[in-house]
Symmetry: C2
Subunit: 155 residues, 2 copies
């Protein structure tokens, strides 16, 4: 069983919580989906298997997972101001969002630890976590815009 799901079971057990069908379903989707769904997107996916699932339940589950530090929520620079949710496990990572097509690419870096310690040393704070979001053009949108520039130059 995945890290996320076994962690969820453990937290529920220690809190006297219950593993419902709804939670099991949402967890399995979050676990396997290689994306960053909004609550609504997650609902749509989940309803294929449980058509009666309610948006409130999705939010309640996500907020619980967030409080347990098993899921992180963030707002990217998009038109609709909906939070996007991301399983924290198996590994911490960062995000790039294409300003053109809005696709998100995940990436890792060992350089953030240097930034953390640099900041800790100069400020006296203790840093427990950090996240980086980069914006720009993804490879394919970049091609598109190069082509457009050529069009403009050549006419």
């Amino acid at each position: 069983m995945s890290e996320l799901i076994s962690q969820a079971y453990e937290r529920l057990r220690s809190q006297g919580g219950r593993m419902t069908n709804q939670r099991r379903l949402l967890l399995s989707i979050l676990d396997s989906l290689g994306e960053h769904p909004t609550a609504e997107e997650l609902l749509l996916i989940a309803r294929k298997q449980d058509p009666d699932l309610n948006l409130s339940t999705v939010y309640r589950t996500l907020r619980w997972l967030e409080a347990e530090n098993l899921v992180s929520a963030r707002l990217f620079a998009e038109e609709r101001r909906q939070e996007r949710f991301d399983a924290v496990l198996p590994s911490e990572h960062h995000h790039f969002m294409c300003t053109n097509c809005k696709n998100v690419i995940e990436f890792d870096t060992e350089l953030l630890v240097d930034i953390k310690s640099q900041f800790q040393d100069s400020s006296g704070a203790s840093v427990s976590m950090g996240s980086i979001v980069l914006y720009g053009l993804c490879p394919s949108c970049r091609q598109g815009s190069v082509a457009q520039e050529l069009d403009r130059e050549v006419g």
Copy 2:
């Protein structure tokens, strides 16, 4: 006159926009305030000088500044999910938020450029901007929690 304010005048001129009392006031606050107010906080501050100022006007002004890239908006991990606004000028910088007292500390780093180029090289994307948010305990809250730990140990 500050970079922010002179830039605002310039953009207005080139767009046939008007420099109203409301905009002048909001700009001067954003320019001098060393914080990251929400729209509502900004309204409260501004109403000391213009009691009739309306929240819509605050939002409209902030969104215009955001579109002009003179202000950035972000959501920190707080209880209330309100955006916080930050003058982009005079210089790009990053943020640390204390998870305990919610205070924000700004910091600079030259290491982000390395992360950007590392990502650009490995992904083929082109990165135009990036932001880092760190979370942890600020110096004074850190002291508090050290004291608490001692209390617990000593009894």
